[in-house]
Amino acid sequence: MKYSNWLLIATVVGICAGMTASAADVKVIANQSVGASSVSADELKGVFLATKTSLSDGSHVEPVLAKGGPAHEAFIKDYLGKTDAALQTYYRSLVFTGKASMPKAAGTDAEIIAYVAKTKGAIGYVSASASADGVKTLEVK
């Protein structure tokens, strides 16, 4: 194949990669009461799908979801394996069988950070570029 064709392909791939957010564009934050400084992907999935209520260090956690946005779409796709519609359906199935309550949801990074900062055990996710004042950032292993 000609060099120019490879360059064209690489350019297209690069543009496409830049158009969608990924887990790398998201950071996980938690209330200062949460003892852990890191969390595994499996733990994260369990917490946000309501199958886990605590992290491996024993810290009780309660998830807060974003209502939408690129960070939300990236987080639920990469860590939960669900679309937003599927996630909402999943939570409603728990609510209407009594197995869980609807988690708190917030509209912007600032609202999520403010809620996580003031709520014991809260854990959420925001854009990687968002300021994390008042909360701790958890490394995802």
């Binding site: 499996d42 369990g46 199958t51 886990k52 209520t53 605590s54 009780h60 394996g81 669900k82 679309t83 519609a85 599927a86 359906t89 409603r92 199935s93 609510v95 209407f96 069988t97 009594g98 197995k99 869980a100 309550s101 609807m102 055990g121």
Partner: protein, 414 residues
């Protein structure tokens, strides 16, 4: 009744504009969440009335709804309750019932207990079958989730032990083990079926116990599972042979029982096997169900043995934020080994099977409001042994071998 349905439908259609999602309020420093749901359907068939609804005339008699409240009292303890009401043709009759009401204590993520009236974990969708907004389809595959036999499996008054076990590279396993008592309403399909045979059931229920295992496999988004439920039920009532639509020698047996009627389990159980796979906006489901019925009826004079099997495969694809398309193929067969009727093993007979091909379009008009357009092409009517949607009282002239069913169903949740 028609006015009631139309007014309810109109009121519910206005509700989404007034509602803003869930309703929370504080009580003694605890947040109580309140949620509700409702649906209204219209059903029309070209032949055969279906699900006790006068579908050959077109009917709106397909309404249900529920409201629940729940609160986390501590980090580990939750309590809540839900009330449900439905009117599907002659089923439900607008009688509200406690759908579930229980306390849930989660000791660990891998071990929790629930006590009270608890929805029964059976297959993928038994415990959520009533909630229209949770499903692509207006009517779940009736081979596995017969809405006219909802009472038989929907909930038990007892307790569950449950949990989620992480298995590292093997994924995770969610388990539920339960035991309790079931108490059927007088407005379910089985009660109506035996009425066709001259029997009026006063009470029906008994012990149910079982387990469900859901394995989230290491293959991303592949879930595999299985369920088993056994029961030891007792039904009692009396006979009124002149009401019988189906000839089962009611008069002969009544003469021996003095008009009293009882039936009981010898060995009844239901098994489920299932798998679900999602890939982006595509979801694939497969389930198979076997109901083995071994009961003594007519006051221990007759043993009924029947092997009822159901299965389906479905696909649903979310085309856009507003539109989801789906289809399923469902198979229901029954081999009748013994009982009040002659044995019948030939599942090619229309009385021993229902094969249903379905196409659905679900439109999410708003976040809390959807409309579904669905068409069923049914082959067979499966009336030989157990209720399968077609009843003699509703089809006095007999059954046509094929039924086309058009459904429009709209649902809301808050």
């Amino acid at each position: 009744m028609k006015v009631k349905i139309i007014v309810l439908a109109a009121a519910l259609s206005l509700a989404p504009s007034l509602m803003h999602g869930q309703f929370d309020f504080k009580l003694a420093d605890r947040t109580i969440q309140v949620h509700s749901f409702a649906s209204q359907g219209f059903a029309s068939t070209n032949d055969n009335n279906y699900l006790t609804i006068k579908t050959t005339d077109g009917s709106f008699a397909m309404t249900d709804g529920g409201v629940n409240a729940s609160v986390a009292l501590t980090e580990k303890l939750r309590v809540g309750a839900q009330v449900y009401v439905r009117n599907f043709g002659r089923m439900g009759n607008w009688h509200p019932q406690v759908d579930w009401a229980y306390a849930d204590y989660r000791f660990k993520d891998w071990f929790g207990v629930r006590g009270g009236k608890v929805k029964t974990a059976l297959g993928l969708f038994n415990d959520t079958q009533d909630n229209d907004s949770l499903h692509t389809f207006a009517l779940l595959p009736q081979s596995d989730y017969p809405t006219d036999l909802r009472d038989a499996t929907i909930a038990h008054l007892g307790g569950d032990v449950y949990g989620n076990i992480e298995m590292k590279r093997l994924g995770s396993m969610a388990y539920t083990v339960y035991a309790g008592r079931r108490r059927d309403t007088k407005y379910g399909g089985y009660t109506l079926m035996v009425q066709d045979r001259g029997i009026n059931i006063d009470t029906y229920g008994g012990l149910q116990y079982g387990a469900d295992l859901k394995w989230s496999t290491p293959v991303k988004n592949l879930l595999i599972g299985g369920s088993h439920m056994a029961e030891d039920v007792l039904g009692s009532g009396f006979t009124v042979c002149k009401q019988a639509q189906v000839s089962v020698n009611c008069v002969v047996w009544t003469a021996k029982t003095n008009g009293n009627y009882q039936e009981r389990s010898r060995r009844d159980y239901i098994n489920f096997g299932y798998a679900e796979y999602t890939l982006g906006n595509l979801r694939l489901d497969y389930e198979m169900r076997r109901y083995w019925r071994d009961q003594m009826v007519w006051n221990d004079m007759i043993e009924v043995r029947a092997d009822t099997r159901g299965s389906y495969i479905s696909a649903a694809y979310r085309v856009s934020k507003r539109l989801e398309l789906g289809s399923y193929y469902s198979r229901f067969t029954c081999k009748y080994q013994s009982g009040v009727k002659p044995p019948s093993y030939d599942t090619s007979l229309p009385g021993n099977h229902i094969y249903d091909t379905v196409m659905t379009a679900r439109v999410d008009l708003a976040r809390f409001w959807n409309v579904k357009l669905e068409y069923h092409m049914m082959n067979g009517y499966g009336t030989n042994q157990s209720p399968a949607g077609f009843y003699a009282t509703d089809n006095p002239a007999g059954y046509q071998p094929k039924t086309g069913l058009a459904l429009i169903r709209t649902g809301w949740y808050f």
